[in-house]
């Protein structure tokens, strides 16, 4: 088995020097952008869908209309769909997990007892 380095400084990408450019076909420059919507500042951005647009600036405009027209919005992100790196569906089994790992189960921790005891103590001390 030959092991290849994943380091781009070691394994250089082979780029063809001169790609023949046959010109853009109509609408070729339009791409899809994934849209992330934030309802209030400080909250997480949630993925809400995608828009079709020629560039990021236009994608923001369209995202505003498609996903922020109704309801509260603090902020919007758009990201080229092509820039999203995803797992393969054939690898979905990597997310399967066997149940015999009690040590990973949060139920194993007895921390709540200590938190409740601490709260009780503070309550007594401050008389709140």
């Amino acid at each position: 088995m030959i092991i290849k380095s994943a380091d781009p400084r070691v394994e250089r990408e082979q780029i063809v020097a001169e790609e023949t450019f046959s010109g853009l076909k109509a609408m070729d420059f339009w791409q899809t952008y994934e849209v992330f919507h934030q309802e209030k500042r400080g909250e997480q951005h949630q993925h809400v869908g995608s828009v079709h647009a020629p560039d990021a600036e236009m994608a923001i405009l369209f995202a505003k209309e498609q996903y922020a027209r109704r309801g509260q919005t603090a902020n919007i992100w758009v990201v080229k769909s092509a820039d999203v790196v995803a797992t393969e569906y054939e690898d979905t089994d990597i997310f399967e997990t066997t149940p015999d790992k009690f040590h990973r189960d949060p139920g194993s921790y007895k921390v709540m007892d200590r938190i409740n005891a601490y709260k009780e103590r503070i309550k007594e001390e401050t008389g709140a």
């Binding site: 079709h52 209309e65 498609q66």
Partner: protein, 256 residues
Amino acid sequence: MNFEQKHIDALKELLYKMADDQLIIGHRNSEWTGLGPVLEEDIAFSSMAQDKIGQAYQLYSILNELGESDPDTVAFTRNAEQFHCCELVTLPIGGFDFSLVRHFYFDNAELLRFESLAQSTFDPLAMLAKKYKGEIKYHVMHANTWIKQLANGNEESKAKMQNAINNTFADALGIFEKGPYEDVLIEIGFFMGEDALKKQWYDKIKTFVESVGLSIPALDSATPNLGGRAGKHSAYLQPMLTEMTEVYAIDPSADW
């Protein structure tokens, strides 16, 4: 503040021309629904058209408080010569190039008009101007982004933008047509006046248009398309109004 009759009349002149502009451009832009160049833009144009109708409704409501009829009656029962909108907004939608440039000219003027009105000595108008600040800011962002996009597209899109900018300029200058109460409006501080607005508008759009590699005609190179504010409209407005009021006319007392 207690106003004299001339102040009330001046206020009505201002509110009518603004509300009529918004109602008519809102209706015109709604004609793009289902015909927009791409689905996303179709929705955007229709959504902004609804914003305009909403703004018109609020202005007609202020007029109602000043003694005019209710908003529906005012919007749906007048003839073309009773409308005080500028000619620019009455024109048919034409191609997307024209509609986009009209939207650009009009909303850049609207943004500055509302910014000025936020300082108005007539409180209801100042409050309304602040309420719609974000909405109109977005309308300008939308128009400017599209103009920039098409100015940097290809030779065809750039030429279409430049032609539309040149050909629509005289109509756009009609936005700033003054009415008989112009001096009263300025004197009492309701509004900074059309001349001041025109200057601000021209400086702003000139800077923007040149920044995207297009040019704007000289201010004195075109004869403004006037008459709209006095109810003198081209043949385009009445057929549009007839269509707009078609359903209302069947049964004006119907509940929606």
